[in-house]
Subunit: 405 residues, 2 copies
């Protein structure tokens, strides 16, 4: 098969992750081995830069520079929240054609896969050979087909290490602590808080996922029971929890909520949910020391908390995207298949199998309304890489002299 | 000089840190070298455990267990918020006397030093030889006499790495980001956000400290100017910022605020300040993408972000407290003196010199109303230990074809 000769371009869409730049660098460095990929461009601000022709020539980035960027969280060539319409995708195709670009790589989630699909359609219609490859990325871990998404492992590691810490803090100065974790529809990230539990009485004692309806009475009863049992409670809550009828809890508990351009309620970068739940616990259970943190953007951006497994896989999906596009002249989305315990194989799935819809936690990962199963732990454990360990003091009590019981 | 023979006890007070257990373990293991320190007890929940005689015998904790605990954030033998009154301190002394305790070590901040002072007074009055040694600890870095406090470096490192990350995230998807950092009166922790700046246009672009009066008009004007200049803004704000007349900003912007038992407004574990500032920016400057995070308890508890310098010094103040008490029969607070660039020497200061009042950032560390100086960076840099580095892509722009300018 003759090799397709032309330029390549890469772009990034949606919220960045701690390892998204690994995929970028994996693709760029891999492509340097193919003489038929003549130049490698990057589009600034995802499809926005493609539409506006704001491109950089990554062919002239040094290897050291790229390797440093690979270890940097955030989107190295910036990202975008734009979900392009058909006319945008047509423009993207026009820019590719004008620049002699025959390889299009887009790192992102389901929306980015959909963009790939539409751009690909225009290329086919124009009979212009354009390899379109979606490279998966999301901290939510909500893409279909793939076993898991690059970006999830590192964010999950941050969540686990955060709950390890706040569990120890809560044990030092007891009370109720509510930690709000990202995840509008999928609870994978919140579920990772389970790895903070070492001893039976360690938190999080309750884990609320968006896959299950949230009921404020059940919540208060469970907090009350845990508080009675442990003298303290650590709760992990997904920002996307909602009531039976689908109303987000944040909307029913808080008066003013912000909606984004799509009419979606803003869940991150605001802390209403945590504060609202805190007020419920204070007023409903008369517990004095109640605290809440919303982990916010630190979850996906903190410099210095990366799962080595996640980083390697993010690198590999970038490399594989280029390899498959260059050697096999195939379009699609790179997906991860789990083999053995624990290994992975990289496949290509049709773009439409990954685009648009997302997936959430399967029932087998969820226990009741406020816990996760061992199945989930077995699934997620290898993705988080090596976790730090903590310990409590094991020492005998001293017999009382003045206050003999 | 004859050595004082008896048991020792250690307790922890106030908010825990990432390295407080290093001081505990430093003291306990050091004491094992002194045959005249016959047993080493730990008081559960600080002075509360002492008052109620809830003690554990740390003499029977294994070395491995203690070394593991040393690397664990949070208070290993739990902590307390109780500021003991005279009658409590009398009880503490009674318990010491009843158990034959002649060495009392208290790890904490200025309130703990004050407790030490009062307990010492009762011992002197009773002509009972009790070595009382205060071991410094606070993430706020607000203790007098000492150059800096164990616990600060690790929390500052967390703040720096957080702002590195959110700066990169904000660069990926531009807007205004406000990160709220702990620190009621002292801005040292918020100031550490400055280490996130690598390139001239990196954030935090504005740093607001509690040492300077906060003016909402100046704030909005500065955010506006930075947004015009950079197309994005990252702001670091101390939770303790207040207006000219001393009113906390959170109190003037938010209607309902919680007050603690001392009448202090609750600043941590609630996110009102960040949300209130976010609303001001949205409504005042008509900027659409405005986000706010309150770093909360992760700052002092996150498992996996420790300054090695801080950990070593926390260990050493624990060791030195025992050495000085055992060899020199002196009471006081261990203080750190900075020598050369960068070394430290450990001294003992009178308890009354450290107790009660705190210190805040000197003027030489503050630039205008929203920045810190190079002097501060030189002061703080060695305390944070090794920081991770990040990098941006250096690549030339591609000339436009379709949209020639």
């Amino acid at each position: 098969m003759e090799k397709l000769t032309g330029k390549a371009i890469i772009a990034m869409g949606g919220g960045p992750t701690a390892v998204i730049n690994q995929s970028l660098v994996g693709a760029v460095l891999q492509a340097r081995q193919y003489p038929n990929i003549t130049q490698f461009y990057g589009a600034f601000r995802g499809v926005e830069g493609l539409i506006e022709e704001q491109l950089v020539n990554l062919t002239e980035a040094t290897t050291h520079n790229l390797e440093m960027v690979a270890c940097t969280p955030g989107a190295g060539i910036r990202s975008t929240r734009l979900k392009p319409k058909e006319e945008h995708c047509k423009k993207i195709f026009d820019v590719c054609e004008a620049h002699g670009i025959h390889y299009f790589f887009y790192i992102g989630g389901n929306d980015s896969a959909e963009t790939c699909r539409i751009v690909n359609k225009f290329a086919l219609e124009a009979d212009y050979e354009l390899r379109v490859m979606h490279i998966p990325k999301t901290i939510d871990n909500d893409l279909r087909v793939t076993d898991h998404c690059p970006g999830y492992g590192s964010a999950a590691k941050f969540v686990a290490q955060s709950f390890m810490g706040v569990n120890l803090d809560n044990r030092s100065l007891p009370g109720v602590y509510i930690g709000v974790v990202m995840g509008r529809h999928a609870g994978f990230l919140t579920a990772a808080s389970v790895f903070a539990r070492k001893y039976d009485d360690d938190g999080p004692h309750l884990i609320y996922l968006p896959e299950k309806s949230f009921n404020i009475e059940e919540f208060l009863a469970s907090v009350d029971a845990a508080y009675t049992k442990y003298g303290r409670v650590v709760v992990a809550v997904s920002e996307g929890i909602h009531s039976d009828d689908g109303t987000p809890v944040v909307a029913s508990l808080v008066k003013e909520v912000e909606r984004d351009a799509h009419g979606n309620i803003q869940l991150s970068g605001t802390t209403s949910l945590g504060d609202a739940l805190m007020e419920q616990v204070k007023s409903g259970l008369k517990i004095k020391r109640v605290r809440s943190d919303t982990f916010g953007y630190l979850q996906r951006s903190f410099l210095g908390c990366v799962s080595e497994v996640d980083a390697n896989e993010a690198r590999e999906v970038g490399e594989r995207a280029v390899q498959i596009a260059a050697w096999h002249r195939v379009d699609g989305s790179i997906t991860i298949e789990r083999v053995g315990d624990y290994g992975v194989r990289y496949n290509v799935s049709p773009l439409e199998a990954v685009a648009k819809e997302t997936k959430s936690m399967p029932d087998s990962f969820i226990e009741g309304v406020n816990n996760v199963t061992v199945d989930f732990k077995n699934y997620a454990r290898p993705l988080l890489g090596e976790l730090p360990v903590y310990e409590r003091i094991h020492a005998p009590k001293v017999e009382k002299i003045l206050n003999k019981e």
